[in-house]
């Protein structure tokens, strides 16, 4: 089994005349947590959405587990073990917690493991078990984020893409989410993390890419990037706003 799990090669994504991502290359090895950082509108979500198949790649290659996936639709990609937790959580608000999880299980390749996987997810998020019959829309923001992550885990993905999982959550819940991400990696899930919370993301990730205006502006081990945190902060343009 090769070390390389995902390879993004010169990815270009356009929205009509707007080029949102131009020739971005990102590599992810098995077992890593890779962070994608950058200011609002830099193109981070666009990169994740292109990898997950929600938006088409105008050029470039996406290689997952050694196979090109840039022409596959989203519904086929997730069945190969690449799950996206989209920005804004996107749980199905009128459906119950358990039905949201059932839908996450549609892409599970090992059908016989579904019950066991559901139990694991509910063990991971006891609050979801307590509220299993409740409509997802009635959960708090943090609980919805847990549901969105739990739903993605129902397909036992080898690669999990997380788009701003801490957005809009109380600090204590943010801690919980970051601990969870570390825990998932320990259990063998590889993670690509898009975050505005640069500090925390650099703490838990192995490597990071800084995206600015649709290109990779710099990349390196997170420890290194963290060392110049102060500069980064000004550089990323969040020192003023956050």
């Amino acid at each position: 089994m090769s070390q390389r799990l995902l390879e993004i090669d010169d990815l270009v994504v356009r929205y009509g005349p707007i080029v949102a991502v131009r020739e971005v290359s990102v590599n992810v090895d098995r077992g890593e947590i890779v962070a994608l950082l950058g200011a609002n509108g830099a193109g981070k979500s666009t990169i994740l959405n292109a990898v997950a198949g929600l938006v088409p790649a105008a050029a470039g290659r996406l290689v997952f587990e050694g196979e090109e996936i840039q022409r596959l639709p989203a519904e086929k990609i997730v069945r190969r073990g690449l799950a996206l937790v989209p920005e804004g959580r996107r749980v199905f608000p009128k459906l119950s917690v358990i039905d949201n999880l059932r839908l996450g299980g549609v892409a599970q390749r090992d059908r016989s493991s579904l019950d066991a996987v559901r139990q694991q997810v509910l063990d991971l998020f006891p609050v979801l078990r307590e509220r299993s019959g409740q409509a997802a829309g009635t959960l708090s923001g943090g609980q919805q984020q847990m549901l969105a992550i739990g739903r993605a885990l129902m397909s036992s993905p080898s690669l999990l893409l997380l788009d701003e999982p801490s957005l809009g959550l109380a600090p204590i819940i943010v801690d919980e989410i970051f601990q969870l991400i570390v825990g998932l990696r320990e259990q063998g899930t590889t993670i690509v993390l898009v975050e505005q919370n640069v500090h925390r993301a650099l703490e838990i990730s192995d490597r990071a890419y800084v995206i600015a205006n649709g290109v990779v502006d710099r990349e390196g081990p997170s420890a290194q990037l963290r060392a110049s945190a102060e500069i980064e902060r000004a550089y990323l343009g969040i020192g003023v706003s956050a």
Partner: protein, 301 residues
């Protein structure tokens, strides 16, 4: 005393009429809402699904086949016609604007109507039903037509089966999910083409079922027969809240209750304006609940 009993009896019979009529509207409204919730398309050609299902009954009757064959044929015709519509007309228009879709479905409606005129006949055709439907049962003081009983029972069964399908099966759950967030549903590994095809097939089958009862009521078919039911279904959907499935069903019953009540209470001289009165009441409902009866204000986008 006698007068009082007669009035009570009248009211019960009106209520049963309203339920039977409402359940037919509910089937049509549910089909419209289903396609709208998944695709954002208001399908004007939904009425033509009723018409082709009605014509399937007529042709089979003409060929000497019994009612027992006409019933499943009407439902199957509705479902297949809806699938053909989606594959031939709506699928190539995927991603087109709301207005483009609306106009296309309107054009499709006209096309099918004219097709029926050209191929079969512009005139009404009789489709006599089994005599059974003209008979009534006496329950104590009440006289209830078999047609109303069968209509109501069939529609209720259809609604229960559909609810179970949507809630219990993965396929059905995928449709509910797609109605809420189409892209997120794709992220679950659910094919949009299958969800859309299923929504059309179900809406068509429901239209076929409704057609059976509409034909039974009228005893005839004609190329434009789908228009008035479509209009009612559309109003029902609006009353219930555009895109809400349970709202569509409730809207169907509410509209039927309004119509039947007006039928029974309006003096003969204003009866021709019944439709206008009904629409007036709908406008009043929407004035107070602009998002429809079943949509909470907080849910409104």
């Amino acid at each position: 005393m006698m007068v009082f009993a007669a009035a009570g009896q009248e009211a019960v019979q009106q209520a049963i009429n309203a339920l039977a009529l409402g359940s037919t509207y509910a089937l049509l409204a549910l089909g419209l809402a289903m396609v709208f919730s998944v695709l954002g398309l208001v399908n004007f050609a939904h009425g033509e699904l009723v018409a082709v299902s009605g014509y399937a009954m007529y042709l089979l009757h003409d060929a000497g086949l019994p009612f027992a064959v006409q019933v499943p044929a009407a439902i199957a015709t509705g479902a297949i016609a809806a699938l053909v519509m989606q594959r031939v007309v709506f699928r190539p228009l995927r991603g087109a604007s709301f207005i483009t879709l609306l106009i296309s479905s309107f054009a499709l409606s006209v096309l099918v109507q004219n097709g029926l005129r050209a191929i079969i006949s512009p005139r009404q055709q009789g489709v006599p039903l089994p005599d059974f439907f003209n008979e009534s049962v006496h329950l104590g003081p009440y006289v209830i037509g078999w047609l109303e009983i069968v209509t109501l029972a069939s529609c209720v069964i259809a609604l229960i089966v559909l609810t179970l399908f949507l809630r219990r099966s993965t396929q059905g759950l995928g449709m509910l999910a797609a109605a809420e967030d189409f892209q997120a549903t794709r992220l679950m590994g659910i094919s949009p083409n299958r969800v859309i095809a299923a929504a059309f097939a179900i809406s068509g089958a429901l239209a076929g079922l409704a057609a059976i009862f509409l034909v039974a009521r009228r005893g005839t078919v004609d190329p434009g027969m789908g228009f008035m039911p479509l209009l009612s279904a559309f109003i029902a959907v609006v009353i219930g809240g555009l895109g809400s499935l349970s709202g569509a069903v409730v809207g169907g019953f509410v509209l039927a209750a309004i119509e039947v009540t007006l039928d029974a209470t309006l003096p003969g001289s204003v009866q021709p304006f019944r439709e206008a009165f009904a629409l007036g009441i709908v406008v009043v409902i929407l004035y107070f609940r602009p998002e429809g009866l079943l949509t909470r204000v907080s849910e409104a986008k």
